[in-house]
């Protein structure tokens, strides 16, 4: 069975959507800061997947370039984010996100 480029793009996008949703739910439902972190990475990579699929569909390299940028930014973000996680742990001796509840009136 030969699958056309357009059709396979649809499949890849669906996978991307599913991965993204998993990421969202991970952020919403899990309480461990590092798991949430991983869920965010999952969402980023779902987006990367969509970039690549669109790039392939259009036959250009733009999608892949965008992915490289995303990866670079994500790497920087990880450095900052993990730094914050370390500080949070030093303060709270815990990585339960629900204990960070000071952001309110």
């Amino acid at each position: 069975m030969v699958i056309s480029v357009a059709a396979s793009t649809n499949l890849v996008l669906a996978l991307s959507a599913i991965l993204f949703s998993i990421g969202v739910l991970g952020v919403l439902l899990r309480r461990h800061v590092l798991i949430i972190y991983m869920s965010i990475e999952l969402m980023l990579n779902a987006a990367n997947l969509a970039f690549i699929a669109f790039g392939r569909l259009q036959g250009t390299i733009d999608g892949q370039i965008a992915v490289f940028f995303t990866l670079t930014v994500a790497a920087a973000e990880v450095a900052v984010g993990l730094g914050i996680v370390v500080v949070v742990y030093r303060e709270l001796k815990s990585l339960d996100i629900d204990r960070l509840n000071l952001l309110k009136f």
Partner: protein, 684 residues
């Protein structure tokens, strides 16, 4: 004649200077006080010089072609309020009437300032006192020189404010504060009438300029003219302390004595008389209004003279005498004798300033003696005085001259002016004149009751006090002497007769009030003033003689008469219960109404609305905060919901409503399914 502005600006500028920098002119306290006193007096003296110059200038100014004598000069100033074609500005009106008033105000005012330098010596708030005194005179000059009702009103309110500040000058005394407020509030009633008169004049005449109103007065309907005149007279009643609003003036005695002199002689209370004369052409339009003015004046003269008989406070005797004499002035204005009213105003300014300053000198002396003896008797109470003729000879002599003048002793100032009033009144209405003669009798009596009680009976207080009473300093006795001189010769301003030197004031004021006097005198047969003079001379002597016998020859007699008629005495001592009447029927209900408002309306409506609104928003806020628990994941949920919303909106635009709903539902289904799968793993 732009320089006429100096009249007002000199005392005004000095007032500002003394008010702002008065405490730090010189490092040495005594030297600073001396400088402040001189500066304040000097400013007024300069103002007086300007007034004299202006008067001479007007006398010798070349007359316009065809004019028999100089009418009036309007010095244009900056515009204040412009409405359409009409404009009200800071214009000065210079005519014989206003210049005469300015001369009296600045001249007598200067002498009072001079006296005050001595009287207020050592007062801790000396600069404030003189700043206010100067402001008082400046306001009075604005009142007198303004060429329209609004400018006059500015001065009118200015003197009201200054009187409040100065009557309540001794701020540590509660009675002084109360008296200041009383003066201000009672005056406010008159001021409201003044305002209404301005509104009516603006609506009907279309201008507030005196010249316009006087010119238009003849063309107005009788009712309108009478309405404006009556409302203005209502203002005059308040400011000039006529019945039924005279209650503030006796209480104004709480202020320092020079202030009393200023209020009673040179400024403030004469404003009402001046206003009536200023708009004389308006007043003569209505016979009823003129009768009302004369009647109120006469009634006030009678009531105040009766009350003055039983007063025991030396300043209160003088205060009621002022009220009574102002009544005479209104009586004169009411019968169309405007010149006589101004004449009496001038002579009264001389002898009443003299009497008040004299009483100030007496109080000053008594106060020091009582202080020296370490007692706390009332230094103003006539019953504590006596025998002062020996210890205060200059004060005694000048006070006697002042009393003779006000009593109408032949050839002194008051004799001429009061006689002119009574003579004109007699031409109009015999009954009024006879009552007026009765008031003259009372005047002579109560003035000499005061003289005998204060100066001639034996001292009532122990020798420790009475031996230490000393004559006041030259600073204080010099103005007394000058004023005594003026009280003697002041009558020469307007001696009846045909010679070149007679009726000077009458001829000088002719262009200001002559036309109105002529209208008022229509159909009146003028009689000779001579019989009247003889009668009133006899009456003055009878009054003085009665006082002499009751308070000098047989001393207990006054008290015996009072004891025989306790009802009469109590009624007089309580000023015909007028204050009690106000307390019972106006202040009482007013206070109760205010309290009701405070409790029911203010708390129940205003506060309830404001607090209710705040409480509603507060509870709304409380409810909203439950959506902001501080949990990061709940914020993420809102974030996601927003994102889903945006996606849904994009889908709606791209796919149409049906497909969009299906897409969103699918997404939600997927989410739900994943959530189901992920359940039970929700541990950190």
């Amino acid at each position: 004649m732009q320089y006429a502005w100096l009249l007002i600006l000199l005392p005004l500028a000095m007032s500002a200077y003394l008010g702002l920098r008065g405490t730090e002119i010189d490092d040495d306290a005594a030297e600073n006080e001396r400088l402040v006193g001189w500066l304040a007096t000097g400013a007024l003296l300069a103002s007086f010089a300007v007034a004299v110059f202006a008067k001479l200038h007007m006398l010798f100014l070349p007359l316009p072609r065809g004019a028999e004598r100089l009418g009036q000069i309007v010095v244009e100033g900056p515009a204040w309020i412009t409405v359409g074609e009409q404009s009200v500005g800071f214009n000065l009106l210079l005519d014989p009437l206003s210049i005469t008033m300015a001369l009296v105000v600045t001249g007598v005012g200067t002498l009072i300032h001079w006296f005050a330098r001595g009287y207020m010596e050592g007062d801790p708030h000396y600069p404030r006192f003189f700043a206010l005194l100067n402001l008082f005179v400046a306001a009075m000059l604005a009142l007198v020189l303004g060429s329209n009702l609004l400018f006059t009103f500015l001065g009118w309110e200015g003197v009201g404010f200054c009187s409040y500040m100065l009557i309540g000058y001794y701020t540590h005394k509660d009675s002084a504060n109360q008296a200041g407020k009383k003066a201000f509030i009672v005056n406010r009633i008159g001021d409201l009438c003044f305002l209404l008169a301005m509104f009516l004049a603006w609506k009907t005449v279309g201008s507030l300029e005196y010249s316009d109103i006087n010119a238009a007065a003849g063309g107005l309907t009788k009712g309108i003219a009478a309405g404006i005149a009556l409302l203005l007279f209502g203002g005059a009643i308040g400011k000039s302390a006529q019945f039924p609003l005279y209650v503030w003036l006796p209480d104004a005695m709480e202020g320092p004595t020079p202030v009393s002199a200023l209020i009673h002689a040179a400024t403030m209370v004469t404003a009402g008389v001046y206003l009536v004369c200023r708009l004389s052409l308006l007043f003569v339009q209505s016979h009823a209004v003129m009768t009302a003015v004369a009647t109120i004046g006469l009634l006030t003269a009678v009531l105040a003279a009766l009350v003055a008989i039983v007063q025991t406070d030396i300043k209160r005797v003088l205060a009621y005498s002022t009220v009574s004499q102002l009544g005479f002035m209104f009586l004169a204005a009411g019968v169309g004798a405007f010149t006589a009213a101004i004449f009496h105003l001038i002579t009264h300014a001389f002898f009443k300033a003299l009497l008040f300053l004299g009483s100030g000198s007496v109080i000053h002396g008594m106060e020091h003696a009582i202080h020296h003896a370490e007692r706390d008797d009332d230094p103003q109470d006539l019953r504590n005085m006596g025998g002062l003729a020996k210890t205060m000879p200059t004060t005694c002599a000048t006070m006697i001259i002042g009393s003779l003048a006000i009593a109408g002793f032949p050839l002194l100032a008051g004799f001429w002016s009061k006689d002119e009033i009574l003579h004109h009144t007699g031409d109009h209405n015999m009954v009024f004149m006879i009552i007026g003669l009765g008031v003259s009798l009372l005047t002579a009596f109560y003035m000499f009751r005061m003289i005998f009680l204060a100066f001639f009976q034996e001292p009532k207080l122990p020798a420790a006090v009475s031996d230490h009473v000393t004559e006041s300093s030259a600073t204080m006795t010099l103005p007394l002497t000058i004023l005594a001189g003026l009280s003697v010769v002041g009558g020469l301003l307007n001696v009846p007769g045909d010679s070149a030197l007679s009726l000077l004031l009458h001829r000088w004021l002719h262009s200001s009030v002559g036309a109105a006097s002529a209208i008022a005198a229509e159909g009146i047969v003028a009689t000779s003033p001579v019989p009247n003079m003889i009668i009133s001379s006899i009456i003055a002597l009878v009054g003085i003689g009665t006082a002499y016998s009751m308070y000098y020859l047989r001393r207990g007699q006054g008290a015996a008469v009072a004891a025989k008629h306790p009802e009469v005495y109590r009624t007089l001592a309580n000023k015909f219960w007028l204050d009690e009447f106000y307390q019972q029927y106006i202040i009482g209900p007013g206070t109760r109404f205010s309290e009701w408002c405070a409790r029911q309306f203010d708390l129940g409506v205003i506060d309830a609305v404001v607090n209710g609104t705040a409480a509603w928003f507060w509870s709304l806020g409380e409810r909203v905060t439950t959506y902001q628990p501080g949990l990061v994941r709940s914020y993420a949920l809102w974030f996601t919901a927003g994102a889903v919303g945006v996606v849904g909106f994009a889908a709606l635009a791209a796919l149409g409503p049906g497909a969009a709903v299906i897409a969103v539902l699918l997404v939600l289904l997927l989410v739900a399914a994943l959530a189901y799968v992920a359940r039970g793993e929700g541990e950190a």
